[in-house]
C-alpha cells in the first residue's frame, strides 16, 4: 500500500496532471474499502451542488477580458495621476496598480504580463535599479490575492463553507499590511532617487479619471454589492462579467468578436483545470473523511503539539513547503478540507485560517521550484530564472515577515470580518 502511495507521489512530482493523481488515489481508496467505483460519478457530480461556484468561471472570464483590453494602461495612468507625485512614487504606483488588478483577475499570472510590461520599462526609464524593478514586478504579480474578489478567496470560501463576504472583509487589513511593508521598503531602497514621477495636477487626475470612467463603477458595484449583502458573490460575478463584456466589446470596441471567442476559450481552460481538480478532490476528500483521516491526523498532531501557537508554527512551515510545490488552487482544494477540522480543534477561526492559508500560498508564487511568477517574469522579461529568484528574494523576505504577523495576530484578519 505504501509503495502505491509513494508511486503516486513520484508521478505527481514528475509532472502527472494533479487531477489524475488525486483521482487515482481516490479510486484506490474506494477499491480498498470495497466501495463501488461508480461512486466516483456521484462525487464528481457534486460539482453541480456547490453553491456560488458559478462565480469562478464568471470572474475568471471578466479578469481575462479586462487583461486583454486597454484597462491595464488606464489603471496605471490613473494610479500614477493619484499617487505618482509622492517622492519615489512610481514604485508605489506599481504596487497599488498590481494589487488592484490582481484582485480582479485572480492571480493567475496575468498581472505580470498585462501590467509588468507597462511598469517595468517605466521604472527603468525613471532610473530605478534593475534588480529592484525585476523583483518588484515579479512580486506584484500575486499581490492582490487577499483583496476581494480574488479567485483564491472565493475558492476558499466555497470549500470551507464560510461566508464569502466575511472572508472578503478579513483580507483587507492583511493585504494592506503587505502593501505598506513593501511600499516602505521600496521607498527605503530608493532613498537616493526620490524624484517624483511627476508634479501633481488636477487636470492630469481629471483626465485619467475621465479616461477610466467606464471601469470606475466596477469596484464600487462589485465590492459595494457584496459587502452590503445586496448581491451574492455569484451574482456580483455575473454582473461583472456582463458589464465588462458590454464595455470592452460594445462601448469601447477594444475587443473584436473573434478575439472575444479566444478569450472565452483561454479563460475556460484555467477554469476547467481548477474545477476538474475540485471535482476529483470531492471524491478523495469523501474517502478520507469516511476513513477518518482528519481525525487520525489530528491525533498524530495532538501528540506532538499541545498549544494553538505551536500548531500555527507547524501549520505555517507546512504551508510554505506546500506553496513551494503546489499551485494555490490545487492546494486549497486538496488541503483545506483536511486541515479545517484539525485547526478547529485548536480553536483557530476558519476565516483567520483562510487568510493565513492564502497569505502563505502567495509566497509559493515566488519560491522555486514551481513559483509561477518566477517563470512568467523570466519568460516575459527574458532573464535567467536564477537572476529573477535573486532579485525577488528581498521582497519574498518582506512578504514572509508579513505572513508571520498575519498568522500570529488573528485580530488583524478578524477585526473587519465581524
Amino acid at each position: 500500500m505504501i509503495i502505491v502511495s509513494v508511486l503516486l507521489v513520484v508521478l505527481a512530482l514528475i509532472g502527472a496532471p494533479l487531477f489524475s493523481v488525486i483521482a487515482a488515489s481516490a479510486m484506490l481508496g474506494y477499491h480498498r474499502e470495497g466501495i463501488d467505483l461508480a461512486a466516483m460519478a456521484i462525487d464528481i457530480l457534486g460539482l453541480a451542488e456547490i453553491p456560488f461556484l458559478s462565480a469562478i468561471p464568471l470572474f475568471t472570464f471578466a479578469g481575462y477580458l479586462l487583461g486583454e483590453s486597454g484597462a491595464p494602461q488606464r489603471l496605471v495612468r490613473l494610479t500614477n495621476a493619484t499617487i505618482g507625485w509622492i517622492p519615489g512614487g512610481l514604485a508605489l504606483v506599481a504596487l497599488a496598480a498590481c494589487a488592484l488588478f490582481t484582485a480582479f483577475t485572480g492571480a493567475s499570472g496575468i498581472t505580470i504580463i498585462a501590467l509588468g510590461a507597462i511598469l517595468y520599462p517605466a521604472l527603468q526609464h525613471d532610473g530605478y535599479p534593475d534588480d529592484f524593478n525585476l523583483g518588484l514586478v515579479t512580486t506584484s504579480g500575486s499581490l492582490g490575492l487577499l483583496f476581494a474578489p480574488s479567485l483564491p478567496l472565493i475558492l476558499y470560501g466555497v470549500i470551507a463553507e464560510v461566508p464569502i463576504d466575511s472572508l472578503f472583509r478579513a483580507g483587507v487589513l492583511p493585504g494592506v499590511l503587505m502593501l505598506l511593508l513593501l511600499g516602505g521598503w521600496s521607498l527605503w531602497v530608493n532613498r537616493s532617487n526620490r524624484t517624483p514621477a511627476h508634479e501633481f495636477s488636477f487636470a492630469n487626475l481629471g483626465a485619467a479619471l475621465k479616461e477610466s470612467a467606464w471601469e470606475l463603477p466596477l469596484p464600487v458595484v462589485v465590492l459595494g454589492g457584496i459587502y452590503s449583502g445586496f448581491f451574492a458573490v455569484s451574482e456580483a460575478a455575473a454582473v461583472t462579467a456582463v458589464y465588462v463584456l458590454v464595455v470592452e466589446v460594445f462601448v469601447r470596441k477594444e475587443i473584436s468578436f473573434s478575439h472575444l471567442v479566444r478569450i472565452m476559450r483561454e479563460s475556460m481552460l484555467l477554469v476547467g483545470a481548477i474545477l476538474i481538480i475540485l471535482g476529483v478532490s470531492l471524491a478523495s476528500t469523501d474517502y478520507m473523511i469516511s476513513t477518518q483521516v482528519p481525525q487520525r491526523l489530528f491525533e498524530t498532531v495532538a501528540r506532538l503539539v499541545s498549544s494553538p501557537t505551536t500548531f500555527l508554527v507547524l501549520l505555517l512551515v507546512f504551508l510554505l513547503i506546500l506553496g513551494a510545490l503546489l499551485d494555490i488552487f490545487s492546494a486549497i482544494v486538496l488541503v483545506v478540507p483536511l486541515i479545517l477540522p484539525i485547526a478547529a480543534q485548536y480553536g483557530i477561526d476558519q476565516i483567520h485560517l483562510g487568510i493565513v492559508f492564502l497569505a502563505a500560498m502567495q509566497l509559493g508564487y515566488l519560491t522555486p521550484p514551481v513559483g509561477l511568477n518566477l517563470f512568467i517574469a523570466s519568460y516575459r522579461f527574458d532573464r535567467p530564472i536564477l537572476e529573477v529568484c535573486r532579485a525577488t528574494l528581498p521582497f519574498l523576505l518582506i512578504l514572509l515577515a508579513s505572513v508571520i504577523v498575519i498568522t500570529f495576530w488573528p485580530e488583524l484578519s478578524l477585526w473587519l470580518a465581524g
Binding site: 509532472g15 489524475s20 467505483l37 453541480a48 483545470a273 521550484p369 514551481v370
Partner: protein
Amino acid sequence: MARLTWRVLKPLERLGTAVENALLVLLLGAMMVLATAQIVLRLFFDAGIIWADEFLKILVLWIAMVGSVATSRNRRHLRIDLSHFLPERLSRWPLFAVDAFAAVVCGFIAWHTARYLVLASGETVLLGIPAWTVQGILPVAFGLMAYRFALCSLKEFATLFGRDGDEAG
C-alpha cells in the same frame, strides 16, 4: 501507417477544437444571460425562474468538463512542473509516462461513470428531464481526455524513439 492514421486524425482534431470552442462560448454565454436575467427579475419584478438555479449549477458542471477536455489538448492541466531545472531531453522522458498514466486514469473514470449512468437510470433533473442527458457529460469528457492523453503519450513516445515523431508533431 502512421501517416495514414494522422490524415484521419487531423481533421478530427480540428473538428474537436471547433466543437469545444462553440460549446464553451455557448455555456459561458448562457450562464451570463441566465444569471443576469435572474438578478433583473429579482430586483425589478420580485420574481425568478424556478429552474434557473439548478440550470446554472449544471452549466458549471458542463463548463468544468468541457473546459477540462479543452485543457488536456495542450498540456495545460495543473501539474508540478520541475522541467525548468532539467535538460531538454531528460525533461521529456517523464512526459511519456505521466500522460499514459493520466490516460489510464481517465479511462477508468469514463468507464465507471458510464456504469453509474446505467445504475442510476430513471433519475430526472430540472423539470423531469432524464438525468443521463446532463450527467452523460462525465463519461464523454473523461473518455475524450483518455483519448487525448493517450495521443500525447504516443507522440512523446514517437519523438523519443521513432522516426515518425516529426509527422505526429
